[in-house]
């Protein structure tokens, strides 16, 4: 069983602060995705990283895939109340028959106070 551990589980910060969320595993993933879920809704994809060491930016969000493809991080600069939500990392195996089956981390619940 491939496990993804996210930290921290909960994070409450003030608007304008920076934060980093970590996603770690002992297993190698062929690709990794980050999703955000808001109350009453399903998760929505933020980014997919594929190459070890890859860095992707989405406005104030920076995503990094570890060199060994076992870990990832999400950094938010100058957080805003609209960033509030549950952030989920999800890893995909390299397998002919794995389809788009994902292993999800436990999630990081972020609250940004105005």
């Amino acid at each position: 069983t491939q496990l993804l551990e996210q930290s921290p589980q909960f994070l409450s910060i003030q608007e304008g602060e920076n934060l980093t969320v970590y996603c770690n595993s002992s297993s190698v993933f062929s690709s990794l995705q980050w999703y955000r879920q808001e109350p009453g809704e399903g998760p929505v994809l933020l980014v997919t990283v594929v190459t070890g060491g890859e860095v992707k930016k989405l406005k104030r969000l920076t995503f990094q895939f570890g060199d060994a493809r076992k870990d990832s991080s999400l950094h938010i600069t100058a957080a805003q109340p609209g960033d509030t939500g549950l952030y989920l990392c999800a890893g995909a195996r390299r397998s002919r028959d794995a389809g788009n089956m994902l292993t999800f981390g436990g999630g990081t619940r972020l609250m940004v106070k105005p």
């Binding site: 399903g42 028959d97 389809g99």
Partner: protein, 117 residues
Amino acid sequence: EAGVTQSPTHLIKTRGQQVTLRCSPISGHTSVYWYQQALGLGLQFLLWYDEGEERNRGNFPPRFSGRQFPNYSSELNVNALELEDSALYLCASSLRRLAGGPVRELFFGEGSRLTVL
């Protein structure tokens, strides 16, 4: 374009009962995935259907089952409900992953919230 739709949105059952949850994927998507999300935490993989066949299942007992219909819609059935089955059940659809290619985006519905009393 309509997104993934799930029904019902909320339901309450008692222990021992059975429940059927339904999911309609995005048009053109042949793969459907079911996940269980307890207490607003991480998602646990339940089942994956593609082209009408079960392709994989997660570490859940056999009382969790489902099927996919020719129009790619899907049902999740849970028999002999237990208290710990209370959760949000999420359905997602996607395009088929290309051989050797990166994982595709999963498009999730809003879920069916099941409460077992």
